[in-house]
C-alpha cells in the first residue's frame, strides 16, 4: 500500500497515532480481554503524568544526573574522510549509563510504575540491553524486577545476564518456541496478565499494544530532540539524512520522530539481513515480510504462508525479532522513511572499522546502521551531513565477535 502522504504531502506525521493507537492501518490494541482494562489504565496514567510538571521534572532530573544526558553528537572526522563523502555524525547513545539508548525509556516507565503504585516491574530482553536497563532502574527506584530472556539469547549474552543478576533482578530463561526475544515477550505478557494488580510491564521497544508504541517513542525521542539542536549548533543547519538500526525500532523512532516533518531530512531504517535477504535467514520484516498481527499490534511480520511466525536470524540478538514497531510500518507504507538491510558480515566489518578508525567500539546492532551509513555517505557530497544513531556500545558483543574469528577470550 502506497498512500503517498509522506514527508512531501504536508500531512503532520508527528500527530500520530490516533486515540486508538493506530498509525494508518497499523498499531492498535490486539490483546486478550484481561489486558484491555489495564492497558486503558496505563494509557490514562501515561497521558496524565506526561502533563504533570513534577513528573517531567523527575524524568529530566534522572535523564541528566542518572543517565548522563545529553549524549554527545560526535563528528567522526577520520571515518568521514576515509569514506570520502558526507560528514558523518554519531549520536553517542553508547555513552549513556548502562551503555545503550534503552535506559531513556526504562527511566520513564519506571517513574510511571512508581507513580501508579506498582511495586514490581517485568521486562523482556533480547540482547540483554533492555533487561539491564530495566534491572538498573529497578535498583535505582527500589522495585522488584523479573526479566524474561530466551534461553538461546542467555547463551549469547552471558555477561548481560550476570549484570542483571548483580543488579538484583531475577532472570527467567524462556524455553518455548525459538527461545529468543519474541518468546520472551510472550512469557512477559503471560506474567503481566497473571500479576496485573501489582506489576508494571516495561516493554523495551516501540511495539506491543497501544499505548506502548507511542509511550516508548516519546521517551526515546529525547535522542532526536537533542540531535536536532546539536547538529544545528555544529553545522548551522539540519542534517541531510538520519540512519538507525531497526529491530523493534525504538532507537530509530527516537531519532526520527522530532525530524518527521522536516522534509529535507531523509530517514533510513536499517534491518538485519543476517546471511542475506535472499537466503531467508534474516530479521527484516519491513524489507521482506508482510502485514499481520503479533504481540498486540498490527505491523509487518516474518511469517509463513499459514500465518505462523517464523524464526529470524541475525548476528545481533537485539535485532533478532520477527516484528517491528507499527509506526515504522506506517512510515514505510507512506514513503516517509526508507528501510534497507545490512548483512552480518557487513555489520561486523563496520564494527571493526569504527573501532580502529575512531576508537569507538559499537554494539553489533548499531554496527548495522554504521555499515549502511557509510555506504550512504559515500554517495553524497562532502558538504552534506548525516547522523547515525550509535545506539549502544560493543562491550557486550566482544565474545560473539571473538568466537566468529575463532578466538577464545
Amino acid at each position: 500500500m502506497q498512500n503517498n502522504v509522506g514527508q512531501n504531502s504536508g500531512v503532520d506525521l508527528m500527530s500520530l497515532p490516533d486515540e486508538h493507537g493506530h498509525f494508518g492501518p497499523y498499531g492498535g490494541i490486539f490483546a486478550a480481554e484481561t489486558l484491555m482494562g489495564p492497558l486503558e489504565e496505563l494509557r490514562q496514567a501515561y497521558e496524565t503524568h506526561l502533563k504533570d510538571p513534577a513528573f517531567i521534572k523527575a524524568l529530566d532530573h534522572d535523564l541528566k544526573h542518572f543517565v548522563g544526558r545529553p549524549s554527545p553528537l560526535y563528528h567522526a572526522e577520520r571515518w568521514s574522510q576515509q569514506v570520502g563523502g558526507a560528514q558523518i555524525y554519531l549520536k553517542r547513545e553508547d555513552l549513556n549509563h548502562t551503555g545503550a539508548h534503552k535506559v531513556n525509556n526504562t527511566v520513564g516507565q519506571a517513574l510511571l510504575a512508581k507513580a501508579m503504585g506498582k511495586p514490581r516491574v517485568i521486562a523482556e530482553t533480547g540482547a540483554g540491553q533492555h533487561g539491564v536497563a530495566t534491572a538498573t532502574v529497578a535498583a535505582r527506584f527500589g522495585l522488584e524486577c523479573v526479566v524474561y530472556m530466551g534461553a538461546e539469547d542467555i547463551k549469547r549474552q552471558a555477561i548481560n545476564v550476570y549484570r542483571m543478576k548483580l543488579l538484583g533482578a531475577t532472570v527467567v530463561p524462556v524455553e518455548s518456541g525459538s527461545k529468543t526475544l519474541k518468546d520472551a515477550l510472550n512469557e512477559a505478557m503471560r506474567d503481566w496478565v497473571t500479576n496485573i494488580d501489582h506489576t508494571f510491564y516495561i516493554i523495551g521497544t516501540v511495539a506491543g499494544p497501544h499505548p506502548y508504541p507511542v509511550m516508548v517513542r516519546d521517551f526515546q525521542s529525547i535522542i532526536g530532540r537533542e540531535a536536532r539542536e546539536q547538529i544545528q549548533e555544529q553545522t548551522g543547519r539540519l542534517p541531510d539524512a538520519l540512519v538507525a538500526c531497526v529491530g523493534g525500532g525504538s532507537n530509530a523512532m527516537g531519532l526520527f520522530y522530532p525530524f518527521l516533518n522536516d522534509k529535507s531530512v531523509k530517514l533510513y531504517g536499517v534491518e538485519a539481513a543476517g546471511d542475506g535477504l535472499e537466503t531467508g535467514r534474516h530479521a527484516a520484516p519491513l524489507c521482506k515480510g508482510r502485514p499481520g498481527v503479533l504481540h498486540g499490534n498490527r505491523t509487518y511480520l516474518m511469517e509463513d504462508e499459514n500465518g505462523q511466525i517464523i524464526e529470524t536470524h541475525s548476528v545481533s540478538a537485539g535485532l533478532d525479532y520477527p516484528g517491528v514497531g507499527p509506526e515504522h510500518a506506517w512510515l514505510k507504507d507512506c514513503g516517509a522513511a526508507e528501510y534497507v538491510a545490512i548483512t552480518d558480515d557487513e555489520a561486523l566489518n563496520a564494527f571493526h572499522t569504527l573501532t580502529r578508525i575512531e576508537g569507538i567500539m559499537p554494539a553489533l546492532e548499531s554496527s548495522h546502521a554504521l555499515a549502511y551509513g557509510a555506504k550512504l555517505a559515500a554517495t553524497m557530497d562532502q558538504d552534506k551531513s548525516i547522523i547515525i544513531n550509535l545506539s549502544g556500545r560493543g562491550d557486550k558483543d566482544i565474545h560473539t565477535v571473538a568466537a566468529l574469528e575463532g578466538i577464545t577470550v
Binding site: 490486539f30 486478550a32 484491555m36 482494562g37 519474541k182 503471560r190 504481540h295 498486540g296 499459514n306 505462523q308
Partner: protein, 267 residues
C-alpha cells in the same frame, strides 16, 4: 438459527448445563482430532472448542502452548482445522463447534475467505483471543450470514461499560475468564465468579460460559451451578501430554475425565 442457540435452548429445557471441552486441533497428531471429537460427544460434551495452533499463543499457559507446538510439528494450519470440522460434520450435524485461536492465521487467509470457509465447514462460533470488539468490525461483518457466532471473552478486569459493549458485539454465548491469568493457571474463586456472572447477566440474555481454572469433577459441578456452560481446556490437554502420543490412551483418558465432570454436573 445457529447450532449454538439450539444447543442452549435444548439444555435449558432439560435443566442441564453445557459441558464444553477444549482440545488443540492436530495435537498430538492430525489423525487423532476427529475421532477424539466424536468420543468427547459420547462422553457428554455439548459443544466442542477446537484450538487453532499458533506459534505465539500469548494468552495461553505452557500446557496449551506445548499442544500448539506439537500440532505445528505436523504443520497443522487453519485450513487443515477447517477440514477436520468438515469431516466431523459428515457424522455429527448437531454438536456445535467453536474455533478458538489467534488473529494472525485468519488475517493471512483473509478474513472474508476464512468466514466463508468456516461457514461451509460447519463451524458455529469463532473466538479470537487477541481480537477485542474494538478491532473486530471486519470479522463481525464477515461472520454475519455464515450462521457463525462471534464469541468474546469477559474477564475479572472487564468493567461494566465494557461488559455491555462486548455483549452487544457477541452472539451464541459469552465466555467469562474466571481467573486473572493464562490458561491452566490459578485456582478458582467460585464466590467471586458467581458475583461477576450475576453482573454479566444483568447486561445480557446470552448464555454465560465460564472457563479457566476448572480442573476436575468438583470444580465443574461448582461452576455449573452458576454458569450456563463449563469450559475445560488445560486439564484435558494435559492428558494429551501424558499419553505420550498413544491415541487410544489419550481418547480414553479424556473421555474418562469428561464423563466424571458430566456426572458431577448432572447430579
Amino acid at each position: 438459527m445457529s447450532r449454538i442457540k439450539s444447543c442452549f435452548d435444548e439444555l435449558r429445557t432439560d435443566g442441564r448445563k453445557a459441558l464444553v471441552p477444549y482440545v488443540t486441533a492436530g495435537d498430538p497428531s492430525p489423525g487423532v482430532t476427529v475421532p477424539l471429537m466424536h468420543e468427547m460427544v459420547k462422553a457428554g460434551a455439548d459443544i466442542i472448542e477446537l484450538g487453532v495452533p499458533f506459534s505465539d499463543p500469548m494468552a495461553d499457559g505452557s500446557v496449551i502452548q506445548k499442544a500448539s507446538e506439537r500440532a505445528l510439528k505436523h504443520n497443522v494450519s487453519l485450513k487443515d482445522v477447517l477440514v477436520m470440522v468438515q469431516r466431523f460434520r459428515e457424522v455429527d450435524d448437531k454438536t456445535p463447534v467453536v474455533l478458538m485461536g489467534y488473529l494472525n492465521p485468519i488475517e493471512v487467509m483473509g478474513v472474508e475467505t476464512f468466514a466463508k470457509a468456516a461457514g461451509r465447514a460447519g463451524v458455529d462460533g469463532v473466538l479470537t483471543v487477541d481480537l477485542p470488539p474494538e478491532e473486530a468490525d471486519e470479522l463481525l461483518v464477515a461472520l454475519q450470514g455464515q450462521q457463525c457466532d462471534p464469541i468474546f471473552l469477559l474477564s475479572p478486569t472487564t468493567n461494566e461499560a465494557r461488559v455491555s459493549k462486548i455483549c452487544a458485539a457477541a452472539s451464541g454465548f459469552v465466555y467469562y475468564v474466571a481467573v486473572k491469568g493464562i490458561t491452566g493457571a490459578g485456582n478458582l474463586d467460585v464466590a467471586a465468579v458467581e458475583e461477576k456472572v450475576a453482573q454479566i447477566r444483568r447486561q445480557t440474555d446470552l448464555p454465560v460460559g465460564v472457563g479457566f481454572g476448572i480442573k476436575d469433577a468438583a470444580s465443574a459441578a461448582a461452576v455449573s451451578k452458576i454458569a450456563d456452560a463449563v469450559i475445560v481446556g488445560s486439564a484435558l490437554v494435559r492428558k494429551v501430554e501424558e499419553s505420550d502420543g498413544q491415541s487410544d490412551r489419550l481418547i480414553s483418558d479424556i473421555s474418562g475425565l469428561l464423563g466424571e465432570m458430566r456426572q458431577a454436573m448432572d447430579e
